[in-house]
């Protein structure tokens, strides 16, 4: 099989999923690129995960009524095991856009319910998703729409809907924020029951006619007795909206863009790509699936290999899927689910409604250290099935020079593309000990240990941080 095909498939799977082990890449490449894109776009054709598995071993993930502290463990388990990688990746995408966190919601169940919605609706009609979010209990609480009353307007949701979820700064006035917020008065949640011994009770959306301001409003030039649905319709008629969504998709799937607050003043990295994606959104009536199809099959996507820094979730899930051995929800999955947080992306708990700053802003001395240390520990464990496969393949090649083994390891871990300086460093480190040979038990043991250390140094490279 052409190496180019494997590289392209690895690229697609890193972006549209969380990477894949070598055998899966080979099988998918044999099937073809476009066919794989179609398969990814139709998750309903793949088996869903057994929802009972986590519950069987960690009964406190049962909703409603989650003990605090399980955190994102359930979601991590889903990301590690899903047969529907794009569905899960879209959930991560929308979680980053509609960033809602337990720091305030104090209710993992309800933030997880958002993730379930993203799975169900994340590749459908964006307008429906906006309505869904406007009625989402966690979102309503997170942005205080439960405190947005006909007699006392609270602008939090109204403002972020415009600033972060649809159009972006610069496309509306302060008056529009006010009028938008008025239109969403009365969109609230049923009164909360007090916290029970094993967690909170579920929250439910409620529309309260008597608390809705039904006076005349003027929003973005449209006057009338506007309600929330009207606001979302008007927003979606604005040319700014498809462009804003397109830019989010580009930033998440193609290449790192400036941070969201800079979009009003920084042109897109690839204006033609944003034009194409935003035209597709308009022509497809905001169908995300159609837009993703165009995106993944485009040249700008295929040419963007390693043009993105991996997010911490991609580092953690991608590396765990590569090394294997964590498919079963063993004790310790709670700790694993906190690792992305230590790298700066605490899942289900974004730092603010803006979500996480991405790209180079993922990297600082602390987060880089966490990335290196976490991934190095995993790939250095030769009992892991994914590492076993790599060592078996190397062993099957027979005696090889250091340079040959370095190249094979880079290939089997990615394929990764590294600079000359990096390759020299890997060879320099591994050269001590000479050729890798596998002819005696002693040699096998020594070569295995050397490969493990080489793999550790590979995941410590700059290049491994890119998706």
């Amino acid at each position: 099989m052409a190496n180019q095909d494997i590289s392209m498939m690895a690229h697609l799977m890193r972006r549209a999923g969380f990477g894949a082990p070598r055998e899966e890449l080979e099988a998918r490449a044999a099937k073809g690129y476009e066919a794989t894109v179609e398969e990814l776009l139709h998750p309903e054709e793949q088996l869903a995960l057994d929802r009972n598995e986590m519950m069987r071993y960690h009964p406190w993930v049962w909703r409603p009524g989650t003990l605090p502290g399980m955190g994102a463990a359930e979601w991590l388990h889903d990301m590690l095991n899903t047969k529907r990688p794009l569905e899960e990746k879209m959930a991560l995408f929308w979680h980053q856009v509609f960033a809602t966190g337990v720091s305030k919601v104090d209710h993992y169940d309800d933030v997880m319910d958002m993730i379930v919605k993203f799975r169900e609706k994340g590749m459908g009609d964006y307008r429906e998703l906006l309505i869904e979010m406007a009625k989402d209990p966690a979102m309503i609480y997170w942005l205080d729409n439960c405190e947005n009353h006909a007699t006392a307007v609270n602008e939090n949701w109204g403002r972020e809907l415009l600033e972060l979820f649809s159009m972006g700064v610069g496309n509306y006035t302060e008056t529009d924020v006010r009028e938008c917020s008025r239109a969403f008065t009365g969109w609230t949640i049923l009164p909360k029951l007090p916290r029970g011994p094993i967690g909170r009770h579920d929250w439910f959306f409620e529309y309260r006619e008597e608390d809705h301001d039904d006076g005349e409003k003027t929003f973005l030039g449209v006057t009338g007795n506007l309600n929330g649905e009207d606001i979302i319709r008007i927003i979606c008629d604005q040319p700014a909206t498809p462009r804003f969504v397109a830019r989010h998709l580009y930033n998440f799937f193609v290449a790192d863009e400036a941070q969201v607050p800079a979009w009003s003043v920084t042109p897109p990295r690839d204006p033609a790509a944003i034009d194409l994606l935003s035209t597709t959104l308009v022509n497809s009536n905001y169908d995300i699936r159609s837009t993703l199809r165009v995106l993944f099959n485009s040249d700008f996507f295929k040419d963007a290999r390693f043009a993105k820094l991996k997010s911490p979730a991609e580092v953690v899930v991608g590396t765990l899927r590569l090394v294997g051995g964590t498919e079963f929800p063993a004790p310790g999955i709670g700790n694993l689910s906190r690792q992305a947080g230590y790298m700066g992306q605490d899942l289900l708990n974004p730092p603010s409604v803006e979500g996480w700053h991405t790209g180079a802003e993922w990297i600082n001395s602390g987060s880089l250290m966490q990335r290196v240390n976490f991934t190095a520990e995993l790939v250095g464990d030769v009992r892991r099935p994914g590492i076993r496969v790599i060592i078996d393949r190397l062993q099957a090649q027979g005696t090889r020079t250091t340079a040959e083994v370095v190249d094979s390891c880079l290939d089997l871990l990615g394929p990764l593309e590294v600079s000359q300086g990096t390759r020299d460093g890997l060879i320099g480190f591994s050269e001590e000990g000479g050729n890798f040979s596998w002819d005696t038990a002693e040699h096998i043991q020594a070569s295995t240990a050397r490969v493990a250390e080489l793999l550790q140094l590979i995941v410590a490279t700059r290049e491994y941080q890119f998706a």
Binding site: K104, D144, C146, E147, H149, A152, V153, N154, E155, N156, R159, E163, V169, D256, V260, P261, A262, V265, G341, Y342, M343, G344, D346, P351, S352, V353, E354, H357, G359, A360, E361, I363, N364, S365, G366, S367, L368, M369, Q370, V372, N373, A376, E377, G380, S419, Q420, G421, D424, G425, L426, G428, F429, E432, E453, Q456, L457, A460, T461, R462, Q465
Partner: protein, 376 residues
């Protein structure tokens, strides 16, 4: 490391999320305060009076003790014109001093470059938190970013000494600058090298520290304790940065704001007690600020995003008292329902940069702004 223990040191504690000025330093004798805040207003018999006009929030008793010993300047009405009332935009403005365009350089990143132009010390500026604050960001300026000081180091799993030295040697080799690799790769390379060097030095700080001060088990106290440890280890760190939050009290403000100020006040008091116990507090000041104050009127449960806020500067060498003025709360003086700032935050920065750090503030904050006399 070129430093003495007596170089001036700045600790920034950012109150993220928009701290409610009017419920922090409360105009408790102003009848308008009661009118505007029927729900979140604090009753007169609960506040901690500082004088006949201003009182602290009831959760701020440890802060009041610092104020009373003359170690705290309260700076009223801090902000800037045309506040956007967005957390992110406002925090960006505070971090970059760029109110009209999107800045990428942080004011303390620039200060770090002035203090250590040849990058002789990767620990000149140390950030406590999982991610880097934009105030500290400046390409090419290293800032150590520490989450947990106790387990700070690269590849701790390779325990065998010689092999560990080898792997770190080749790590450094691979992270060395290469021509034409692009800005992101360069940034990663520099970060990797700085991490390696910073970790090597920082790992000793907790071992060298002992104290009788018992910090509470709160996130902010943990960060401040880490700052005290690194300061006492004499690594030449001149700027520390940390934050606490979220102060975004749109609803249920009472319990939330109480807890926030309890944790902050206790943590800050422990920090200064710790420095005093070790006799290393005379070259440290702390700046506390928030990206904006909140609306003058409450919304029936909390307060929405506003404009003018309050800042605090603390330390043994600070000339304690209240500076600038309480902005007027009269209806006709409010702007979009908010008290109007009367002291530009860049003047606050200029006072600290010039009168404490000994730097020329103008290029760092982008202009000349009124300074106040709490550090003279």
């Amino acid at each position: 490391m070129a430093s003495t223990s007596k170089d001036p040191v700045l600790v920034v504690l950012q109150l993220t999320g928009g701290n409610d000025y009017l419920n922090t330093v409360i105009p408790y004798t102003n009848p308008l305060y009661r009118d505007y805040r029927p729900v979140v207003g604090i009753p007169e018999d609960k506040v901690l009076p500082l004088d006949d006009k201003a009182a602290f929030h009831p959760a701020m008793a440890p802060m009041k003790a610092i104020y009373e010993r003359g170690d705290m300047a309260i700076i009223h009405g801090v902000g800037y014109p045309n506040a956007p009332r967005s957390h992110f935009r406002s925090m960006d403005i505070w971090h970059t001093c760029e109110p009209n365009k999107l800045g990428t350089e942080g004011w303390l990143g620039r200060a770090t470059r002035e203090i250590d132009p040849h990058k002789e010390n990767v620990l000149t500026t140390v950030s406590f938190g999982p991610s880097l604050f934009r105030a500290l960001a400046l390409p090419g300026v290293p800032v150590a970013c520490v989450d947990n000081l106790d387990i700070y180091g690269l590849l701790p799993g390779v325990s065998e000494q010689r092999q560990r030295a080898r792997i770190l040697h080749w790590f450094a080799h691979m992270y060395s600058p290469a021509i034409g690799s692009g800005p992101v790769m360069d940034y990663l390379g520099q970060t990797g090298l700085d991490t390696l060097q910073g970790a090597d030095i920082l790992k000793d700080a907790p071992k060298m520290y002992s104290s009788t001060v018992q910090y509470p088990e709160t996130p902010i106290a943990k960060k401040l304790k880490g700052i005290a440890q690194v300061h006492m280890a004499n690594f030449g760190t001149r700027i520390f940065y940390c934050d606490h939050g979220s102060f975004d009290s749109h609803s249920n403000q009472h319990g939330m704001h109480d807890k926030l100020w309890k944790d902050v006040s206790e943590g800050v008091a422990c920090f200064f007690d710790d420095l005093r116990e070790h006799g290393v507090g005379d070259n440290v000041i702390m700046l506390m600020f928030s990206e904006f104050g909140r609306r003058t009127r409450d919304n029936g449960s909390g307060t929405d995003h506003g404009s003018g806020g309050v800042a605090f500067v603390l330390g043994e060498r600070v000339k304690g008292g209240q500076y600038s003025e309480f902005p007027s709360m009269k209806n006709e003086d409010l702007e979009q329902g908010d008290v109007v700032p009367n002291h530009d935050f860049r003047g606050l920065y200029s006072t600290i940069l010039e009168d404490w750090m000994g730097l020329d503030a103008k290029p760092l904050v982008g202009g000349t702004f009124e300074k106040l006399a709490y550090l003279q």
